[in-house]
Structure formats: structure tokens, C-alpha cells
């Protein structure tokens, strides 16, 4: 007996791959999409799913997610991360290697990948550590990890201080055509910093991290990409000043891409208010001028990808004096509704916004998902774009509820999520 056909009708299809945003239908069977278009031929056995005019789009691909597994499952396990992900419309997540046991060898990449398959409702892909133990001293076994399925290599938020080591890592990675992700931040310049350097930090008496710390490091890594020919992803850009450097690298024809976290597109340093540690992020939230420039960056394509930067931290790591509190926000569940603020405010077209969370990351990693096309994996989300939410962090699915959006009004709700043709989340259940 063949697998059941599902026929999504009455949808607003949003597919960046074909630049299509309009009424349409999708037919899926098994794990893949069979057909899509304004109208698709179906059979009488097909199970009809009426989308009631809501937006049907590819499931989101989140290139920057941390969990606590293995080692710190009290922060987040693969299982809870997966539940939070699909509730937020994320169907593929790339996990950072900065777990307690650093993901720096092939067996660990294999462990994460298998464990993800067994435990997580969303697809799990592993990012491997660029250096052994993320110590920035020795090149990790990039080739073996790539064979085991690592989709990119990064030193997470621990900058590689030695330019020579970074050059060797990138040079070596280029032999495998491997993607190197760098979170650009000059280690010395940013040392001890707690928030964006500027008038507010000075007034609050908190040590600042200047934009220059990012721009200097991004400059270095762009130069090294030119020198080595490595594929470089500049991860989680926060400053206006870095954007022209990325634009220049792209214009020069280097294989350089860049991401930005949804927080940096929707919040600024003033959200720290009276020492709100839940808005203490790395890189730090910057000025309103930076935020507006980053939005322009997404529109113009200088910034390719929007990530959640999901970094679950239990309350005891956050309810501390600002200097002592952990950086990071639990963000899988807010990625889409927060990003949709930009659409509702008329700042970014829906297709451009969705592309940055679907097709663009898929293309950077060479994944078949992220589009609504015949033969592509049936990773789909149905979204009520206008649904108003008064976001209540205490009701989050993630094990850690450190959200800077607590109490805020967001707009847009995931109604159902499908991964590989299976319904893994429904807001109605």
C-alpha cells in the first residue's frame, strides 16, 4: 500500500525559491513534496488539508542553535529543543559544537546526528568544532567530521585569537570545500565587556564591547578567506560598521556569507533597561542605528540568513547581577513571530524575510529543503501571519525560558509543522 497523499488547499503559498507569494496548493506523499502551484492535480484518495488562507511556507532552517546535550541537559536536551523548534516553525536546526563535551570529533558528530534523529522532532544537523576543544590551538579533524555529517565548522563564541591558527583552519577546510563559520569578535578588545559600548553602558557602569571588536575580527577573517579561498560564514553580525566590509567581500567575488540574529533585528541596547539580564546577549544588542542598518542589510542581501541564536540558560544563570549573568536567549520559539514584526511594520517583504530563514541557509549548506518544489523534503509550516501574541515566557516549551520578549506583543503563530511529511506540531492539539 502506498503512503497517504496529503493535499493542502486554500493556502497562501510563500516560496522564496520561485518568488511566489499567492493562493496555491501543495501535494505531498511520504517524505517529499510531489507538486505545488496555483492548483495541483490530485486523486480522490488524497487527504484534504484546508489551510483557510493561511501562509504555507517551507519549514525554517536555523543555522545557529545551542542545546545542553550532551552534558548540560538541564539547559536543554535535543528532545526539548526539538519540541521548541517545531512549535516555532523551525524544521531544521544546526547545533553549535559548544556543548560541555565539545563536538570536535567524528564520533561526537555522529552521536549528535543520530541522537537528533531519535529524539528531536526537528531535523538536527551538527556543526563541528573548528579547533580541538574550541581552544583555538589545534585544527580539529574537519575532514572526518565532514564525512560524519558535520555541515559547517565553527569555534562558536570563542574567538580564535591566533590569526595564524585561523588561517590554517580556513586553509585546511578549503580542501574539503567545508564551510567555516566565524563569530567575529576581537578577543582582546571585547574582554570583560558586558554590553554595547556607548553612552548607556557608561551610565549603567557596565564594561562595553565596541563595534570595532566585531569589525576588526570580520576584516581579519575576510582577508583570510581571500588568502585561503575558504568558504566563510560571518555569523551573528551586530554592527552597522561591519556591513560595508561584508558587501565589499561579496562584490569582490569571495565566497562570504553572513547571518544576523533575530534579536539584533528587533531589539536594541535600550532593551537592557534597568539591568535586564534576559537581554544580555553575545554579540551585544547595539544601538537603534545599528538595528536599522541590519534590517537594510537583510533587505539588500548583505546579510543572507536570519538565525535564532538559541542559547537556553536556566533562571539561576540569569537572575544574577548583570556582570555575573550568562549571555544568551532562548529563541527557537520566538524566531518567526519576532521576525514577522519586520514584515508587519513594512520594513521587509515577506518573501525576503522567509528566504533568509529557509532558502538562503539551505543554499549555503547545500540542503534540498527550504523550498516548496517537487522532490524537496516535505518540511512545511502553516502560519497565521496576523495572529497577535502577548508573549508569556513562562509558557515556553524550551526547558529554559530566558526570553527577552517576555511580555511583548508579537504577531504570527505557527498552526502546524510538518517534517518529512509527518505532522510534528499542531497549535490546536
Amino acid at each position: 500500500m502506498s503512503e497517504p497523499l496529503y493535499h493542502f488547499i486554500n493556502a497562501r503559498l510563500v516560496d522564496p525559491a520561485t518568488q511566489f507569494d499567492g493562493p496555491g496548493e501543495v501535494l505531498i506523499q511520504g517524505e517529499v513534496i510531489l507538486a505545488s502551484g496555483p492548483q495541483v492535480a490530485s486523486s480522490s484518495e488524497a487527504i484534504i488539508i484546508n489551510c483557510d488562507g493561511h501562509a504555507l511556507m517551507p519549514g525554517l532552517i536555523d543555522l545557529h542553535v545551542s542545546t545542553g546535550e550532551p552534558g548540560e541537559e538541564q539547559r536543554e536536551s535535543l528532545s526539548t529543543a526539538g519540541k521548541a523548534a517545531v512549535a516555532g516553525g523551525v524544521t531544521t536546526m544546526v547545533l553549535q559544537p559548544d556543548t560541555q563535551t565539545v563536538i570536535d570529533d567524528a564520533a561526537l558528530v555522529d552521536f549528535i546526528t543520530r541522537r537528533g534523529r531519535d529524539r528531536s522532532l526537528a531535523r538536527v544537523l551538527a556543526a563541528g568544532a573548528l579547533t580541538v576543544g574550541l581552544k583555538g590551538e589545534r585544527i580539529a579533524e574537519l575532514g572526518l567530521m565532514a564525512d560524519a555529517g558535520a555541515v559547517l565548522f565553527t569555534n562558536s563564541d570563542r574567538p580564535i585569537v591566533s590569526t595564524r591558527i585561523m588561517q590554517r583552519c580556513m586553509s585546511y577546510a578549503s580542501a574539503f570545500d567545508a564551510l567555516v563559520a566565524s563569530r567575529p569578535q576581537d578577543a582582546f578588545l571585547s574582554e570583560g565587556g558586558m554590553m554595547n559600548m556607548g553612552e548607556l553602558a557608561s551610565r549603567l557602569g557596565l564594561a562595553g564591547i565596541s563595534s570595532a571588536a566585531e569589525t576588526i575580527a570580520a576584516n581579519r577573517d575576510i582577508q583570510l578567506a581571500e588568502l585561503t579561498g575558504a568558504k566563510l560564514l560571518l555569523d551573528m553580525i551586530s554592527s552597522e560598521a561591519t556591513l560595508p566590509r561584508i558587501a565589499a567581500a561579496k562584490a569582490q567575488g569571495l565566497d562570504v556569507t553572513a547571518s544576523v540574529s533575530v534579536h539584533h533585528l528587533t531589539l536594541n541596547e535600550n532593551d537592557l533597561g534597568d539591568y535586564r539580564t534576559f537581554a544580555k546577549l553575545s554579540p551585544p544588542l547595539r544601538s537603534e542605528q545599528d538595528r536599522l542598518a541590519l534590517i537594510e542589510g537583510v533587505k539588500s542581501g548583505i546579510l543572507d540568513v536570519i538565525v535564532s541564536g538559541h542559547d537556553p540558560r536556566p533562571a539561576e544563570e540569569k537572575r544574577l547581577p548583570f556582570d555575573e549573568a550568562a549571555f544568551g536567549a532562548s529563541a527557537l520559539e520566538t524566531l518567526l513571530p519576532a521576525a514577522l514584526i519586520l514584515y508587519h511594520e513594512g520594513l521587509i517583504e515577506l518573501l525576503d524575510l522567509v528566504r533568509a530563514m529557509t532558502l538562503a541557509p539551505a543554499q549555503i549548506l547545500g540542503l534540498p529543503q527550504g523550498r516548496i518544489a517537487a522532490g524537496a523534503p516535505a518540511d512545511l509550516i502553516l502560519v497565521d501571519l496576523g495572529f497577535p501574541i502577548r508573549f508569556d515566557a513562562s509558557r515556553m516549551i524550551s526547558k529554559s525560558r530566558n526570553s527577552p520578549y517576555d511580555g511583548r506583543t508579537l504577531q504570527g503563530k505557527v498552526l502546524t509543522t510538518w517534517v518529512g511529511g509527518k505532522k510534528v506540531f499542531s497549535a490546536l492539539d
Partner: protein
Amino acid sequence: MSPDSPPPRAPFTKRHLLQIGDLNRLEALELIERAEVFLPFTQAREKKLSTLKGRTLVNLFFENSTRTQASFELAGKRMSADTVNMAVKSSSVSKGETLLDTAATLNAMGPDILVLRHAASGAAQLLARKVSCSVINAGDGTHEHPTQALLDALTLKRSFGHIEGLVVAICGDVLHSRVARSNVILLSMLGARVRLIAPPTLMPADVDRWGCEIYHNMLEGLQGVDVVMMLRLQLERMDGAYVPSAREYFRFYGLDARKLAVAAPHVKVMHPGPMNRGVEIDSDIADDPRVSLIVDQVESGVAVRMAVLEALASHGANEEADDV
């Protein structure tokens, strides 16, 4: 008006004193005026008032500070509060007890006023959200030290009769100074003109937006000033990290007779203490009663803290915390 009579105007409405920025001009002036009333009383033979009878004041000091702690303790005792000093040794912090654990324990003991000194900026704000009593910030990291600014303002008022129009130069490690931050806000609010003098490495980022005049040359910065307020420079910051050496620092930013000569003839010198003699200030100046207000500052400190305690006591004790 006697110290035992109630304060003259509208009651103080704030529950905490966390930062100068929370006060408006009128509230600040009233605290200073009220402290002035307490001043002669601190010199009287009989020093006990009944204002805080039955109330409990807890000094919670995560950093050592003999003089601030003693000042709050004396202020509390002179107003008949039961005063308890808790010096939280760094060891119990390293045992994993957090500020909020300590706060929860203390809160259960039902104090009326908590005085907090802590190394982290924003610690007082955090504590205030978690306890059901009043919180006084006695210095949080590099953020604020509001009672120091109030006592400095009182000292200036005693010496000059007014604050409005005074030109005050604050010199030294502005970057790490909570005293400077509180004073910049308060003195500006009260109509003084504030100059900041420091090498660029000891100035906060975007300090030009504080509404002060910025100088890197002390001789220029001190031209014609009425008041020189020196700041303490931690010795460990003079090893090349921020300035090359103590002797170079004293040469360019230490207060000596040569530099002081360019100030107004009636210039007064202040220092929040403890002083590094010969590093930021010449002993001859610090000890010269014609110039130095340093002893007056200490005296003002107790009076100002009495005024603050009285103001907060007018507020009901043990109300619900905002967020427990």
C-alpha cells in the same frame, strides 16, 4: 525646626534610593536641606533621635568599606534603629551563595531597610526587585553611589552657601568611578557646571553626552574652578593597563600646589576617600584646612544618611516586593 520635628514638605515617595537619576531636583534639595538640620545635632552631646525606633537596618556589604559602613551604622543608631552589620565575605560568595540567596534569607528576617554595597553594577536594582523592604545603594560596581553625591552636595552647600553656578572639576578615574557618575548627575541637576578631567583611557565611552566639559589636560581643566573633586585611582590600574605608572599619573593628573594655583583663589578640594597620598593628591593639600573639605565630607556623610533613612522610613515598611 528641630531634628525631632517632621520634615517640612511633602513626604518622600520613593521606596528605595538606588540611583541619583531616580530623584528629581526637589527631592534632592529636600534631602540635603533635611541633612542640614541634622548636622548641628551630630555635634551635640546627646545624639539620639527616636525616628526609627523599632525599625531594623541591615548593612549588607559585599565589598569592604569601613567608612561608608560606619557612617550608615552611626546614622541608623542615632535614629534609634536596630542596626546589624553583615559583611559577606567573598568566601561565602565563592561557596555559590548568590546575592539573591542572601537577599531571600535576609528578607525572611524582616528588616525595614537594607543598605547594599556590591561589586556588580545594578546589584541594588536587582535586590530591590526581590525584597519587601527599602534598599539603599551604598555603591554598586562602577554604577552609582548616591549617598556620596548627596553628602558632597551638602558639603558644598555648607562651604559656599549654594551649589547653583559652582564650577566643579571631577578629576581622575572617571571610567571606574561610581562617585563620579552620581556626582555628575546630582551636581548638574542642582545647577553646578561640571568638568571632567582624566586621560582618555580613564574616561567612559561617549562621555561627551553627559553634558559635562571634558578635559585631558589638568591645568586647562582646573582654570578658575571653585571646587576640585579628586577620585581614587586603584593601584592595580596604574601598572600600564590604563596609565603607565603612578609617578607619571601624579605628574599629569595628581593634585599639587602648582596645578591648584590655576583654580579660583577660594578653591576647595574634596576626595571621597580613601586617598592615595602622593599618587592622586599631595598630602599638603589634603591636610590644609583652608582648602580641604575632606573632613567636612565625612561629617556630612552621617547627616545625609540620617536624612535618607528618615525619608525612607516615612514610607511603609515591609510592603510587597515588585517581583519575588
